[in-house]
């Protein structure tokens, strides 16, 4: 791979010439999930540099986790992300089970997989709605988010919660999916199967969506590999990377799962925002099929190999070793490394890696060369778990300054849509 192609000199907080100026965006906006600051360097309307500063929502979770017992760590892991609220527990439990040599009964593996895939459906639909909104297509936002409610209801019916499902425990799961609840799941899957083609038509056969997203926010295959991008962000660039395929685990090991790229939709790979939409919509269909398989082939048997929490804590306290846990979350690979020492309740080392951590640097080539009005949709294209298009302060060489609110940026984006639609 040719590292020279990647611009690592991200710092561009000061203006250097009369023809460029900087636009800080963020870090705080209440309408967005998490804060982050972008500082764009612009030449006219074109983005010629970007500096990204995350960390405004850093809560020191690994630091806290290394002072708590593993059951408490599981609660913390579930709260790393409100949307991926089963993805982190799935990776953590696998890391601990690998380190401590704990087996997981087959039924528990299937239940974990079902909840993980339901999370993917709701996360991708959430993203699709946000993408539609950023383009100024609010009717589509409302349609998609109305449709998303069905999976949120199902998650509540299966687990008791819309988020933070509290399903995985080391050695198994905390709740069963009995037959009567499986019926609810089949009903929801049928609902989505009937609607999916309509959603694909609404997004992929719409002229204004195509014009605003085609050749915008492009990430090439080589850049995606060199920057270690993951999830739909990488797959939209043709990188066939998916932990469920590459190194199967849970029920994924029993199924023939393939990484989805734009080629599966019969189009060449461009790596733009449009391809990101393609991949995510097709993955909703893939998730439906995975859940159907799990429901039809659900094994019987125990829910956990160590049902009593006190016995589980005793086993964990004796454990000595290290383990890796990985899960293909909706946004990409979640990775947990843990090291346990016998006689110590807390993990002596714990590292969490979320997908946005891997995709952070993908923003740099994606933004380069595009326009200010494209910032909202490109920022959203990696489905960041933190972002803030709160306000922009335009600073010119003469010292002049103007504050741009997020609403103004969205307005610019919408005006561009109207302009392009004639």
């Amino acid at each position: 791979m040719d590292s020279d192609k990647i611009n690592l000199e991200l710092g561009c907080t000061t203006c250097t010439t009369q023809t460029t100026y900087s636009v800080p965006i963020g870090p705080v906006h209440p309408a967005l999930k998490e804060p982050i600051q972008f500082t764009f360097r612009l030449s006219g309307e074109r983005i010629v540099g970007v500096d990204i500063k995350p960390g405004y929502a850093h809560r020191g979770i690994e630091y806290m986790g290394m002072k708590r017992n593993l059951i408490q760590v599981l609660y913390l892991a579930e709260r790393i992300c409100g949307i991926c609220s089963i993805s982190h527990p799935l990776a953590l439990t696998q890391a601990v089970e690998n380190a401590a040599g704990i087996e997981v009964p087959p039924r528990a593996q299937y239940i974990r997989t079902i909840i993980g895939e339901l999370e993917r459906i709701h996360s991708h639909l959430l993203w699709a709605g946000v993408a539609a909104h950023e383009l100024g297509f609010d009717t589509l936002l409302h349609l998609v988010w109305k449709v998303r409610e069905k999976v949120m209801d199902l998650l509540e019916q299966l687990t008791g919660n819309r988020v933070d499902y509290a399903i995985p425990i080391y050695g198994g799961v905390r709740r069963d999916i009995p037959d009567e609840k499986a019926g609810l799941a089949y009903e929801a899957l049928s609902y989505y199967k009937n609607l999916l083609q309509d959603m694909i038509n609404a997004f992929l056969h719409d002229k204004s969506v195509a014009m605003r997203t085609s050749n915008v926010g492009v990430l090439t295959y080589d850049d995606a590999v060199a920057l270690c991008a993951v999830g739909p962000t990488a797959r939209a660039s043709g990188v066939k990377k998916d932990v469920r395929q590459d190194m199967p685990y849970l029920a994924y090991a029993d199924m023939d799962i393939r990484a989805i790229t734009p080629e599966d939709y019969g189009k060449p790979v461009v790596g733009d925002v449009f391809d990101n939409i393609v991949v995510r919509l097709l993955e909703v269909d893939q998730s439906i099929k995975i859940i159907e398989y799990c429901l039809e082939h659900m094994p019987g048997g125990e829910l956990t190999s160590i049902p009593k929490v006190a016995a589980l804590l005793a086993v964990l306290k004796k454990a000595d070793g290290e383990g890796i846990g990985r899960h293909e979350a909706p946004r990409g690979e979640v990775f947990h490394y843990i090291r346990l020492e016998a006689g110590v309740e807390a993990p002596v080392a714990w590292k969490v890696k979320a997908p946005t951590y891997s995709n952070l640097m993908s923003w740099v080539p994606k933004f380069m060369g595009d326009e200010i009005a494209d910032i909202p949709i490109i920022a959203a294209s990696i489905d960041p778990c933190m972002c803030c298009l709160d306000r922009a302060t335009l600073v010119d060489q003469g010292g002049g300054e103007a504050v741009k609110l997020k609403e103004e940026l969205v307005k610019l984006s919408r005006e561009k849509t109207r302009r392009m639609c004639g």
Binding site: G55, M247, L250, A259, K351
Partner: protein
């Protein structure tokens, strides 16, 4: 790709420099169980760029993350790679571990070989206080620019505790 292939390739290339190596086999699948593998090797830090160069030239690796493990007078850094991605059951996790003494706390950058390592290297600098030699952008990433404490260093715990605001008074353990 098999774990033996990659391990043999590294042993042939680096020989006695590899201070530790082992393969962990795990079984996955409920209907037709199959093995998956985690490969671990340990090398001195001076060999790290050469090892990553060899890995990039031969195996097109994905870097998941660099994790750290404070062992007292030294910190072990684990470079968690995955090789063989793109094929069903094709992937193996390949972790390169190197131990760095705290009294000579330096590591060479690998961003020239794998630009995506920058986020992880910047994070290790700020959270462990290590110097990554040759890093193209050494500013704090997640911590504020003016923050000089290194929260994941266990020997600097007292300093870290002083900077933490206790929100919940009855919880004495969170610092």
């Amino acid at each position: 790709m098999t774990p033996d292939e990659i391990l043999t390739a590294f042993k042939e290339k680096f020989g006695a420099v590899i201070t530790d190596s082992h393969v962990v086999e795990r079984t996955v699948g409920t209907t037709a169980p199959r093995p998956v593998y985690d490969v671990w090797i340990e090398i001195p830090r001076a060999q790290l760029p050469a090892a990553v160069t060899y890995l990039c030239d031969r195996f097109s690796p994905h870097l998941s993350v660099i994790s750290g493990d404070d062992l007292g007078d030294m910190v072990a850094f684990n470079y968690h790679f995955a090789v063989g991605w793109g094929e069903r059951y094709g992937e193996i996790t390949f972790t390169i571990r190197t131990r760095v003494p705290k009294d000579d706390f330096h590591l060479p950058t690998i961003t020239g070989l794998l630009p995506g390592a920058l986020t992880s290297e910047r994070e290790k600098q700020e959270f462990y206080g290590i110097t990554i030699d040759g890093i193209p952008d050494g500013r704090n990433l997640f911590l504020p620019e003016d923050m000089t404490i290194h929260p994941w260093r266990k020997d600097l715990e007292e300093e870290t505790q002083k900077s933490v605001k206790r929100i919940v008074k009855w919880e004495e353990r969170d610092g």
